[in-house]
Symmetry: C2
Subunit: 746 residues, 2 copies
Amino acid sequence: MELVWLIPVAGIAAVLYAGWLAFNVLSRDPGTPAMQEIAGMIFEGAMAFLKRQYLTIALLALGTAVLLGVIVGAVSEGVKDIALGSDGQIEYGAMKVGQWTEGLMTGVAFLVGASASALAGFIGMYISVRSNSRTASAAQRSLKEAITVSLRGGAVSGFLVTALSLIGVSSIFFIYSDVLGYPRAIAPFLIVGFGFGASFVALFAQLGGGIYTKAADVGADLVGKVEAGIPEDDPRNAAVVADLVGDNVGDCAGRGADLFESMSAENIGAMILGVAIYAVTDRIEWIMFPLVLRSFGILATIVGLSSVPFFAREDGQQDPMTPLNFGYYIVSILSVGGLAIATKVLLGDAWYWFFFCGLVGIATGIAFVYITQYYTSGNWRPVREIADASRTGPATNIIIGTAVGFETTAATALAIGTALVGSFLLGSSAEITGVPSFTAGIFGTAVATMGLLMSAAYILAMDTFGPITDNAGGITQFSGASESARHITDSLDAVGNTTKALTKGYAVASAGLAAFLLFSAYLDKVKERLDLPLTQQLPIDLSNVDVFVGALLGVMLVFLFSSLAIRSVGKVAGAIIEEVRRQFREDPGIMAGTSRPDYARAVDITAKASLRAMVAPGLLAVGMPVVVGLVFRFVVAPLHQGDVKDSGWLAVSGLLMVGTIGGIILATFLNNGGGAWDNAKKFIESGQMTDENGEVIGKGSAVHAAAVVGDTVGDPFKDTAGPSLHVLVKLLSTITLVLAPLFIAT
Amino acid sequence: MELVWLIPVAGIAAVLYAGWLAFNVLSRDPGTPAMQEIAGMIFEGAMAFLKRQYLTIALLALGTAVLLGVIVGAVSEGVKDIALGSDGQIEYGAMKVGQWTEGLMTGVAFLVGASASALAGFIGMYISVRSNSRTASAAQRSLKEAITVSLRGGAVSGFLVTALSLIGVSSIFFIYSDVLGYPRAIAPFLIVGFGFGASFVALFAQLGGGIYTKAADVGADLVGKVEAGIPEDDPRNAAVVADLVGDNVGDCAGRGADLFESMSAENIGAMILGVAIYAVTDRIEWIMFPLVLRSFGILATIVGLSSVPFFAREDGQQDPMTPLNFGYYIVSILSVGGLAIATKVLLGDAWYWFFFCGLVGIATGIAFVYITQYYTSGNWRPVREIADASRTGPATNIIIGTAVGFETTAATALAIGTALVGSFLLGSSAEITGVPSFTAGIFGTAVATMGLLMSAAYILAMDTFGPITDNAGGITQFSGASESARHITDSLDAVGNTTKALTKGYAVASAGLAAFLLFSAYLDKVKERLDLPLTQQLPIDLSNVDVFVGALLGVMLVFLFSSLAIRSVGKVAGAIIEEVRRQFREDPGIMAGTSRPDYARAVDITAKASLRAMVAPGLLAVGMPVVVGLVFRFVVAPLHQGDVKDSGWLAVSGLLMVGTIGGIILATFLNNGGGAWDNAKKFIESGQMTDENGEVIGKGSAVHAAAVVGDTVGDPFKDTAGPSLHVLVKLLSTITLVLAPLFIAT
């Protein structure tokens, strides 16, 4: 077990580094009293929402945990030991875990994963709402200081979330194997509940937060900018605090939970794949490898993040993306080094093939940085095309924006497809005695995924940077700070938009690359249940009617889920608009600036409506794979000719695999389309567009109004439905993995 | 070969009936001189476009035919006889067709199919442009007469297109088998080129026509209604004739070619499935069954269509949909009778199972009538929800419209999924000695598809009714006819919108149901090439990396294709807007009504731009499956460990099957979303919406303007991208079927 000591070292290093960053941020000037006041309101609103949301989620999670334990206990037949048989196949030994014990351990793992995911979301949000007024304050002094504060604030959450995932997965693995004494080969199967718990919480956190943030944003804009004709973030708008709260609960808490579960679920899936090779080679390193690689990633990220200030120029003339990109390159280069060490030390003689797989993953991350920037930044054709289309009104803006959004799926699919085929072929070239090339190939895709995720802390830091600067901008505007401070927060906000888009691209890439390893973990579970050797291939035949219809339903699921998520935003926004209109109507002093709107009430209404709205799509996501599996197992299978027993798990396989494809493609459209619409509006606002007489078409023009329509349409696409789809895709993997025995008739 | 005589009888009956209808329509009053003049302009514009479009398509088709012949000749190894072996498996006998002969026959079949498809499109358009002024004239007298004329005009095209497909497929089958003397078991494989040719032409016809019609519509609206503030179809708008031409070349010619190729390709696919059962049972009826069933469908449709006037009430107070629906029920009931006879006489002892399969198909057709009406008609929740959302502006209109469009995929997927599983299970229950239940099950889905298609002529008649009434409305407005005539054409136009939406739902349903039979035809071709028995199952394993990445690329293809189609509309509309603006600017007399705009120039510009724009998406659709197949065969396969040869055809399988799923779902969103937006606008125009004070919110209000934005966005969705996707899905099937040998390394 060489290098395993790195796991606690990296985990502790990340926590210490995050502690230092947090101390550094919190000890800074929290801004003028006006800034502190509004920051306080945001803090209260965000905490109140999170408290209420977590209560709802906790109830749902507790119920699910109990149900899960009972279901697994009732339908499972327990877990048998896994070992190499005399014929070179992997065989099952004695029963090591009874079925009810398995149920209990799965339920407990679910709760631990769920709690850790909630904690990750909370951390992201807490630091963000503490950093916003400090960034606003810093913006009164210099751009460089503002970047430093906001990036450090973001980094706290990036490191803590990453560390939490690493420590959580390795601790529960350690406890289930070394402390409770179950064989290491089966421990990864016992902790799958952790991944399910994490994605369960992430789904509701992302949905609730995503609905909240965009409903508040759309509602505040429509009732303020469009109806009342007052500027964005104007204190007279009762919904403006809700809007600022939304940035935190959606982008921070939601994304934190999202990446936490991505890292955790993919890590556990990769460990399950390692089991087969461990059984053959008897080297536990194959199971521990993902944890070690992520440890290297954390160390690389600490260095990379610390290097960012060295690339920032003092004069403030620099594009703030430049130092961030340099930091990312440092992380990538150090990751390559870590990858080389980890593969060489842990993965035996054919290690270099897996080193190449990891390189594919790192390269995929970099590719997505460029793809996302190309499609969502104002410097290239796509965004300018949308801006141009706004000349003929909102309809053509939407038409061309949709075309651009659809187009972005091409680069995404090609990049993911190439990475999958490439890492599979490289992995399968590794010759490991007794391991079929197919198994090694799948492990190759897992290594690529782990390679991609090495920079997760950095990406998450950049992501949380977004809402911090967004909030800082709002606080600056709201508290009536100086023009120059506003200018600084505006420029940071534009960068924040790009980094938020990058994170979504990264999440899509990780979902795509991880697809294979997560399916394989599910299939391994099915094989275990059917008593088939782990190294045997189990075909999921698309020309089988059960698989095909499952696949059809999988693609339908991602559309229906997105429909519910998008509609929720419209509905909740409607409730906010009604409330602000009521306040304007009942107290004319608000518009005159003599009385203060009731911000708290608007926050409260948004919170309640969002929580109600998150339940339907959440239950659909959790319920549909289960219903499909049960219907095909108990209704369709008996109607088949002959003794057909496989309909249940086959239909679920189709739903899982093709639902994943549909989710990746649809999320790409929603994320990038939304991002492009947003930046087309910003492109026009930046004054870079002129009419035929050479005069600038800017804010306040009809063209700008058309672009605002596109931006508003894109909001629920890119910040509610799109990010929730990433989580849905992973949830499909974890729920089917945990509940596999439910769909298998024996 | 019982009942085979029905095929020529039905074909001739359809042609005679269509001839009588055409004579009846053409002998009616062609309207006032003003009407005839504008009708003449539409006729000229449509013919000029079609001539130019067909020239382009002919060149592309000729090149493709030659290439196809050469490729098939070069890579195929010829066609062997198929017969039952002594072990009960289906085996291959002596070589019956040399490889170059196969290439030649495939190329010829392609050209015949392409020509027939073009002719079908031409017929649809020709009758439509001849019926429009006659409908306008009839509208001056009575609603009933206007319905009669327009429906008969539509029926001419419905019957001729259906007859053409029936006669075309049966003739080429007869010539290749009985005249040229090739065994009947292999003749279906020789005529697959017919289906490819038909879908090749349909794709370009639908794309070119779809881009033309929506670009002209959007362009005319934006530059006329929005910019210049003149009514729709106002003679001062230079683009208005182009708009009217567009209805014909898009909706008539495009949809005619679309349904022609659906019927033909699915018919041929079903015949290929029959081959396996024919080889076992030695009853040619299994191959001829689809042709006989369609003959019954034609006869049922003649009766059903003739019955429509009996359900029309004289007083004109009736919803025009009512008699149309009654006619459809008559067709459905008679189809059930025909289905019973055809299955009983042709399909042996277990015929009743296939009778039930056919019922599933007929029921699916009826289900789609209701699903489509629910989602796109103003009487139910979805459209009203969009209308309501327009109160807060165009952005919320688009957000809720997207949510509704996404939601519609659920009912579609559930209906198709249920029908597929149901017909498969029913078919597989039929015990036919020597035939595996899997093969019988697939044949069951083919019978369901054929059952659905029995009413194709009726659906197509209703569809062509749409553009005829749309045109009649335009002519009435343009020629300054009486208010009452306008009122009649307006009410017909609203019905036409519903019938057009129905046809799209029907096309999606047929694509979904046919999915299985078309895949199976492709797999049969692969088995033939790999020398595997036709009755053996060939798994397409989704957990194989080649299949999975092919699947990912398949879903990407439908998004990228839609992106190109939608963008083309935006681009061409831009060109039209420029031209109309130029005419307004250079000749102020146009706006004053003293000089006449240059309609012909606007028509010409639209035509040229549309033809240029159709090439890129068309080539993508044709090229991508080929490129994917070649890359996986020649690049990826050799990189696999071991002697892997299957990558090419496996990746193509994934692309085909999952691309079909993606295409069905995306087309459903685009069609129904667009239809719902359209009717939300019409709902507001009908004066059914009121504000909080109870006052009507109608035309000219801000709410209506918001709904117009949604309608405009929906135009290219529902009339360009959506319908082109149906064709794309079928084209994928036919192209992979024909070119299968290219992807198979042996």
